[in-house]
Symmetry: C2
Subunit: 399 residues, 2 copies
């Protein structure tokens, strides 16, 4: 629990003007599903300077709808800075005057990295559903190649929330000797039935939109209605009951348009805006692929090892204690120090699921701790300005 009054985050400067880069890997890449691409592109940004030893890097991993642009602005007219600008910068909790900060758009993404919307060189058309199935582990293994390219020997830390938290956990398991610490937040070691259920509703909305056409659509002409509906629904799961009540309550829009069943409350108008604007920046197939990657993520049931020989445990039918034993055994290979942060009002990846990660790590004898931040922004709390979170991140990274 936090007390905002007692937090004393370092007041920091701005990263300022940034630009993105494209890393092109020309080595074949074998996905977890066995399929091979001849290579791939990852769009990424870096802030700060890598030291001579190549070991002061902090990897930022993004959530479902995030991207590589996590700090700074592209021009002085840019009204919106990167998505985690509040925490990244010189003197900020993720201090770019100390650390070389890296963030890439995930493999399978739609913000410049290779994904279902990319052109398949064999056909000259977008991959669509021919794109290989993407897992959290595939995302991490692609990032490792980017780090090779950048000369990063060891990560000082990997930090991310939500799907980013899953990547961070996977990093520590996949490359135990290459990550000194991890800071997953608002995440889970396996997707719950409820979270799968919400994702499935979103996918249903998309694939039943005639615009989806089996995944074969031209840019801008995809399942815009289905994707907007999926986003509207998902957006509710990113917030909280209390937060929505505080922000919107039952306040009505002053001017109404349309028929008597149309938008009436502010909260409706807000959600519709979220849906509409998402369609302009996100590809529906990537949404399908990434939600599947989330749903299949399960460190309880599967110990993904560096050698690709995943082991299936029958975790589905086991008791809670057995499940924890499985998770603890998954963490045996872990070497990184770990701080997991949960948020009180997060009901998508609730505090219990975050605590369970640390519990299993502790059972496996690892250096792990859990902190909980009391905020009413729901799952999205990790993205919000929060002195208590800043203090935790700063304390952990610099210890």
């Amino acid at each position: 629990m936090n007390d905002a009054e007692t937090a004393s985050p370092t007041l920091g400067g701005e990263v300022g003007l940034v630009e993105y880069h494209d890393f092109v890997s020309s080595e074949p890449f074998t996905f977890e599903d066995g399929r091979v691409l001849p290579g791939f592109t990852l769009r990424y940004e870096t802030y700060g300077k890598l030291n001579a030893a190549g070991d002061n890097a902090v990897l930022i991993t993004h959530a479902l709808s995030g991207d590589h642009h996590c700090a700074g602005v592209y021009s002085l007219n840019d009204k919106k800075a990167g998505w985690w600008n509040n925490i990244i910068g010189p003197g900020k909790p993720i201090d770019t005057s100390r650390y070389f900060v890296i963030c890439s758009n995930c493999l399978g993404g739609c913000q410049g990295s290779t994904g279902p919307a990319s052109i398949n060189p064999e056909t000259g058309k977008a991959y669509g559903l021919d794109f290989p199935v993407v897992s959290i582990r595939d995302m991490v293994r692609a990032q490792a190649r980017l780090l090779d390219h950048l000369g990063v020997t060891t990560l000082h830390s990997a930090v991310g929330g939500s799907m980013g938290g899953m990547q961070v956990l996977q990093w520590a398991l996949e490359y135990p000797d290459r990550v000194r610490s991890i800071l997953p937040m608002a995440t889970t070691a396996r997707q719950s039935a409820q979270a799968i259920a919400f994702n499935e509703v979103g996918r249903s909305a998309i694939v039943q939109d005639p615009g989806w056409n089996g995944g074969d659509y031209s840019p801008g002409n995809g399942p815009n209605v289905g994707l907007a509906v999926a986003r509207m629904m998902a957006h509710i799961t990113y917030l909280s009951d209390e937060g929505l009540e505080r922000k919107f309550g039952r306040v009505r829009k002053s001017a109404r348009t349309g028929n008597h069943l149309d938008v009436e409350f502010e909260v409706e108008s807000y959600l519709r805006y979220q849906g509409r604007s998402f369609v302009n920046r996100f590809d529906a197939n990537t949404y399908l692929y990434f939600t599947k990657a989330l749903d299949r993520f399960d460190l309880y049931g599967r110990v993904a090892s560096a050698g690709n020989e995943g082991v299936e445990h029958p975790a589905e039918t086991s008791s809670a204690t057995d499940a924890c034993t499985h998770l603890a055994s998954a963490f045996e290979r872990l070497k990184a120090r770990c701080l997991v942060v949960g948020f009180t009002s997060d009901w998508l990846f609730p505090p219990e699921q975050n605590r369970a990660i640390v519990h299993a790590m502790l059972r496996a004898g690892k250096d792990a701790s859990y902190a909980e931040v009391n905020m009413d922004f729901g799952h999205d709390s990790f993205l919000v300005e929060a002195p208590e979170l800043y203090a935790l991140v700063e304390g952990f990274l610099n210890s």
Copy 2:
């Protein structure tokens, strides 16, 4: 909190074979929105016998997707009994050997009562969006005419969950001298921002489905995809995280069909089935109308009086204490004894919202009490066989 072991519900018999009836009111009916229909039909069922005084009736009010068929079967081959058959019958908690039980499909509905799918005598076509806006109060006032027709002078009790709970509350406010007791459960005195948000996503899915066509579609050819998506999403809000985890967890379907993004987990398959089957029994326009009736229900902000002179309070901007004062003032006209039942895992109309009703009634000096039942079925808990709920209902009705 309950202890299932200590509950001792009466073991009861079955209502058995039942049939529905249609009550046709030929008097003009003025909706809250000012529109007038020349009359309306309510489809209803009754079980048990009305006594000579006409005061042993128990009105059952249904939820969003419910109907008039709450007990018994239509034929001996009928595999599925009415939706609340577990609690209604001779010797059951709502005892048909003592009480004359009535349940009608709400005005605006699509299970035999007049609603948007009914034929507008002026045009010879279905009303569609020309149907007047329906409020919870309209539903209640239509039910009152049915009770007149049946010779019911006074309701021994009105009992209902969710939207049924709203009707029950409205009954006690609209006809304070005609209701001796009310038993609302899993309900709220006003729809929260989060609940409005979920409804709006469902409505967006429906109205953006090309099959909706501005509400003008032929039976069976409406917005089937949008309605199914709306139902899938809503269904998640009727259950609970724990319940879904217990029932489905991450169990996968044994046989998979379709592409690699298609149904994989049992919970997905279950939800899709819920969506598909709903489309076959429910009208999309009624779904739009009823969700709007839910969203507009607000006893905090509006004291609906028998004389139609609703008073608007600026409850939207007031503090929690002010809000409670408004609600207490709304309950001043109440005469019925009241028991509100909340369910621990209900996150759509959570325990706090149910408790708040009783709190305000107590402030208004009314005979009101609250009980909470510990079940993991979420909002739908009130529909599930539950000895502790049975004991509460039986105790309250017979006291």
